[in-house]
Every structure is written in structure tokens, then in C-alpha cells.
Amino acid sequence: MAGSGNSEVKLLGAWASPYVARARIALNLKEVQYEFLEEQFGTKSELLLKSNPVYKKIPVLIHDDKPICESMIIVQYIDEVWVSSGPALMPADTYDRALHRFWAVYIDDKFVPALFGMMRAPTEEAKAEAKEQALASLQLLEEAFGKISKGKPFFGGDTIGYLDIALGAFLGWIKAFEEMNGFKLLDAAKTPLLCAWAENFCNNEVAGAVIPETTKLVELAKVMQAKFKSAPPAN
């Protein structure tokens, strides 16, 4: 059984963090019992600072007192430890694995900064640039989906895999931005495959349940935007 024996699993995170969502989705798919320790917005707990001295960021998975940092490293770790529970998150073929890893890095490198860039952009020009980058990267991901999914509902095929988690965890924030800005990032005309994929992902009992409600994220975004405008960012 997952979380077998006396092994203790804790996840340091925050409800709204899409990076934390990645770890939660993986843990839930693998039916791992864990304690969720919520970090308070704006502060960092002693445990977080001790467990992730390099980046001081969530998520951190603590398994039997050993910390694992970086969301996609955590996802791989979960896949490798709880190997006999739930479906494999990484594909079996080594080239497919390389593709999943490549596009997950791309998402973090190009898509995510553009997505949050739209919220933080100080000028209309910067905002437009971020929007263009976000849309362009989704277009590439649309093509990648076509090749990697091989006609199945997910990047991972029949079941949710590593790359699905990498992108799917951001669906809450994608929807929040769509609502706040009145345009579609995932557009049925331009990215039909990803639109279908997004629906499948959100309808998945396990993964979909982790994605926060769009209204709550929109509320949070407005609070953060107000704070951001009124004070210099302090991270």
C-alpha cells in the first residue's frame, strides 16, 4: 500500500501554487498518504528554510525527514518511489521520456514566465509581449501534444503522465487569466487539441480536484496585483 509502514510523507506548500499542485497531483495519483503543511503567504516557515536552503521555495516534499525540492524533481521522485501504486507517470520508452522532460523544461522556461508576466507587466507593451510569448508557446505545445499523445487523451497516453502534470497544474491560473483579461489562452480555433486535453485533465477525478477554483484564484490575483502596485516587490 502506498505510504507503507511508518514512512512519513509531508508536503510543504500553498493552496494557490501551481508548482505545489504538480506535487499534489502526483501524490494523489499514486495514492500516497501525506500531511499538507500550508505556508502562509508572505512568510517562510523555519521548516521551509531548513528544508530548502538554496531556493527557500515551495513545494518541498519531505519523505522520512529527507527533503526533495523542485516540483518536477518531486514528481519524478514520487513516480520512482511509489512505483507499484497507480499508473506510471513517466513513459517507458527512453525517447518519450526525453520528450516529456524537454517540454516540461520548456513550460517552465517559456510558458510560465509569460503567463505570470501578463499579470506583473508594468506597461501595456510588456503585457502585450508576454501575451504573445504565452500564445506562441501554447502553439508549440499544441504541436507537441499532437505528436506525443499519439491520438490518446493525455501526453501520457491513456493516463495522466509527467508532462500532463507539468502543464495541467497551471490550468487554474490559465482560466483565471482568461477570465480577468477577457481572452482565451486555450482557444478552440488555435489549440483544439490542448482544449480537449484541458477538459480531460480537469474532469479527471484525481487531478481535477487539485486545481483551485477559478474564482478564488481571480480574487487572489486581484489582491496580489494591488499589493504589487502599491509596494516594491519583496521576495
Binding site: 519523505h63 526533495i68 521522485y77 527512453t94 525517447y95 526525453a98 524537454f102
Partner: protein, 222 residues
């Protein structure tokens, strides 16, 4: 042994790229025969652009016609495709630690190199904090991989020549024997290892390249 299968491995690279060096070291340890194609980064070949349309960068590994990009992803692909002479730790926790440091170890070093004043001080603090933690990973070991060179050694191996060159150009020593005895010893052991020794261009040529890059960047700022 590997080439008997009729497999074709081609590496597109650039002589001074630390990312390319990672792949060369992995191929060497795995004893994989490969063809090397030197790219002119100012005039990239059509093949490179075809194989890596997303980033248009080296290294790219082409194996039996399929292309893999991103140095660390290529190294894991090599590890998983050729089973002998394993470079990854077996234990999932050790794998996670290795994957973490593969990217984190270099944090701040480039900023240290190309900035001045307060920015450089901040970068240096971050570098020293990371190196202190990295030093601990070497306790009781010759290499990060234990007795033999492994994934993390390969991933951070560029430090063995990159940091001394940065130190020379900025005239500031970071990795001293006193402050980081294990890292210092590791740099030497790594550079002298059979899989690394003859892979690098002459130090003077590398130094010159880095100095040219540094001067160009510094000039742009001032």
C-alpha cells in the same frame, strides 16, 4: 560493442560549450562511439536548426535519426538507452539530490562573473552558500557519484575549468583549498579522470574565449 547494433549517434556541438562537454563526458563513460559535428554558432547549420527548432542551440544528440536537445535531458537519455556503465544513482532520493544540484550548483556563478559592485557581492554570497552545501555532498567520497564519476559529476564538471577561469579573469578566488577542501580536491580528480582528461580544449584557448565574452559584456555595460 554498441556500434555492432548499427546505431548511429551524432553530437552537434561547439568546442567551448560546457553544455556540450556534459554530453561528451557521458558518451565517454558509456563508451559510446559517436560522430561529432562542430557548429559555427554565428552560422548555424540547417541540420541543427532542423533538429532543434525550439531553441536552435547545441548540444543536440541525434540517435538513429531522432533528435534530443538540452544537455541534462540528453545525459539522462544516454543513461537510460545504454544500460551499461551506469551514471545515475540507483536510489530515488540520491537521484533527486543529483538532479537538484545539476542545475542549482551553477546558480549565481554567471552573475558573479559578469556583474560588479553590490550585484556581484550578492551573487557571490549565493555562490558561497551553494558551494558550502555542495561540499557536504562530497564527504566520504572521491566524486559526487562515489568511487566513480556519475551524473552529478558530469553535470557540474564544467566548474572544474569554469571557476578557475572566472577566478583568473575577475581576480577573485572562490574555491580555495582552505575554504572548500573537498570541492578543490574534486576539481583536480575530475579534470584528471580518464573520461575527462583529453576532452577539453587547451586551457589558454578556453580562457581566451571566456575573456573575450567577458570583455564584450563589460563593454556593453559601460
Amino acid at each position: 560493442m554498441e556500434e555492432a547494433k548499427g546505431e548511429e549517434v551524432t553530437l552537434f556541438g561547439f568546442w567551448s560549450s560546457p553544455f556540450v562537454h556534459r554530453v561528451i563526458w557521458a558518451l565517454n563513460i558509456k563508451k559510446i562511439k559517436y560522430k561529432y559535428v562542430e557548429e559555427d554558432l554565428c552560422d548555424k547549420s540547417a541540420l541543427l536548426l532542423e533538429h532543434n527548432p525550439v531553441y536552435k542551440k547545441v548540444p543536440v544528440l541525434v540517435y538513429n535519426g531522432i533528435a534530443i536537445a538540452d544537455s541534462l535531458i540528453i545525459v539522462e537519455f544516454i543513461e537510460e538507452t545504454w544500460k551499461e556503465n551506469s551514471i545515475m544513482p540507483q536510489d530515488p532520493y540520491e537521484k533527486a539530490v543529483a538532479r537538484f544540484w545539476a542545475t542549482a550548483a551553477g546558480d549565481g556563478l554567471w552573475q558573479f562573473f559578469i556583474t560588479e559592485g553590490k550585484e556581484r557581492e550578492e551573487a557571490l554570497t549565493s555562490v558561497i552558500n551553494n558551494f558550502e552545501l555542495l561540499e557536504k555532498e562530497l564527504i566520504g567520497k572521491n566524486f559526487f557519484g562515489g568511487d566513480r564519476i556519475g551524473y552529478l559529476d558530469i553535470s557540474v564538471g564544467w566548474i572544474s575549468y569554469g571557476v578557475p577561469i572566472f577566478e583568473e579573469i575577475t581576480e577573485f578566488k572562490i574555491i580555495t583549498e582552505q575554504k572548500f577542501p573537498l570541492l578543490h580536491a574534486w576539481m583536480e580528480a575530475f579534470s584528471n579522470s580518464e573520461f575527462v582528461k583529453d576532452t577539453l580544449p587547451p586551457r589558454e584557448k578556453l580562457s581566451e574565449r571566456y575573456r573575450n565574452v567577458w570583455e564584450a559584456i563589460m563593454q556593453k555595460k559601460n
